[in-house]
Amino acid sequence: MLARIGLSDAEKDRLLGELEAILEHIARLQQVDTSALAETAQVGDLVNVMRADVPEEPIGAAAALRNAPVSDGNYFVVGAIQGAELDG
């Protein structure tokens, strides 16, 4: 599942029912004639917002790792990657 949430079967059934109702409500969107409309990804007219290539002091590994559930030395740690389906 793309959302990577491990739902129980009961949870899945309930959520799917709710999502169906929501999607049915949302479906009215399809009736709007949008042939002449551009897409709005964000409001406003800002363009070319960039920063100069000047490095700043990083926060460092100690601060980076402070919130980690599991770490080892300077590293974050995760369990084994099984199979290749997660491979990016």
């Binding site: 999502l19 109702a21 999607l23 990804a41 926060i59």
Partner: protein, 487 residues
Amino acid sequence: MTASTITQLAAALRDGSTTPRALLAGAIAHVDRTENDLNAYLAVTRELAEAQADAAAHTLEAHPETASPLCGIPMALKDVLCVNGVDTTAGSKILRGFKPPYTGTAVQRLFDAGAVCVGKTNCDEFAMGSSTENSAYGPVGNPWDIERVPGGSSGGSAATVAAGTVPFSLGTDTGGSIRQPAALTGVVGFKPTYGRVSRYGLIAFASSLDQIGPFTRTVEDCAMVYAAIAGHDPRDSTSDPRAVDDPLASLRAGVAGMRLGIPREYLGAGTEPGVRDAVEAAFRVLEGLGASLQEVSLPSTDVALSVYYIIAPAECSSNLARYDGVRFGVRVERPSLTEMYLQTRDAGFGNEVKRRVMLGTYALSSGYYDAYYRQAQKVRTLVSQEFDAVFKNVDAIVSPTSPSVAFPMGSRSDPLSMYMCDVVTLPANLAGTPGISVPCGFVDGLPVGLQVIAPRFEDSRVLRVAHAYEQATDFHAQLSPYATVAA
């Protein structure tokens, strides 16, 4: 000092009748008195607050004239706002114990002004909700009736101002999450123009819609807090570089000669009769102040709800992918990585978050993108165009903030009926316009809010209209039972 305004407290701090430490102690004592019923706070940041109060006292003594009006004033922050070293959970189990290593820009600006952070306020998980019942840490009681919700998602920030604990707080508004709880708790709540207040340090729900704004007891206070947090931030590429005009300069200019529009669709069938009456009375007050009112139309209001419930979940499905149990937050340990992801996110997210993540994932997935996400983006354009068209004929829009007053906890278990709460607030998020809710009456002892919306970057105009109305009425001066609980 309970239920005082910023203006009153700033004066008291300068005439020596109180100190930042005394105000802080009063605020914390009031939290202690009311928290059992309200559950407005997820954390009281006493240590941070004491240090800030001492620093503020120093500033007030050294530079009483130039110190910000917010210097030494206690306040509270919605728990989606990051503060360096302070627990920030966004109302979610998955972030229990998370201490950001940085402070967000808007919050830092308040700190720089000398404001004193009393604590982090409860909210719907990741700001998803309209009742604050979706917090992983329990619901927030409405100070007017603790059996009822305070609205949401910024319910804790609204409730603590309504309870008179602090004169102001910050919330966030993605579809009405400041304005609707302000209406339901009888305080002022302001969502500035998208791009006016930096989102850096705001835990994102829907990036193109989120905006930080204040809760206050008066519009003047609101303008002061807004002035302190607004302005360009290079860390937020969507923050606007245009200069912010001083909202206090035009605050008292009144509404005489102003053209105000009442969108027909904002007073639709779902509006409770009591709310309608209160708002119509407010329209007459504005007319009495010299404004000319006319009916206008925003035909896509109804479909805007659908647009919102595609765009917001789509963005949130991506924004919430980072909660994977790897670098921060709670992890459910499993030998395989995939299982760890699945179980961490299942255990860490609540129902509403799961619903929206799944909805958004669906709307973006291949085969559905064009029908849902792309179509929603196009209709979003239409929603903006309709606002533009209306603002050719009127200076601002006035309407109810919420179709209903505060409803009993647990009464809206159906997600769709909950989503309807935002039907008149979320279009302003889609169009990026500023909007405010100001108290305009009561129905059976429950507050009603008047919403004012103006074109983008006309934040001062929104505040000016709201101020004129507020000064002509005394709804804002009425205190909730929790604001009058004696020490």
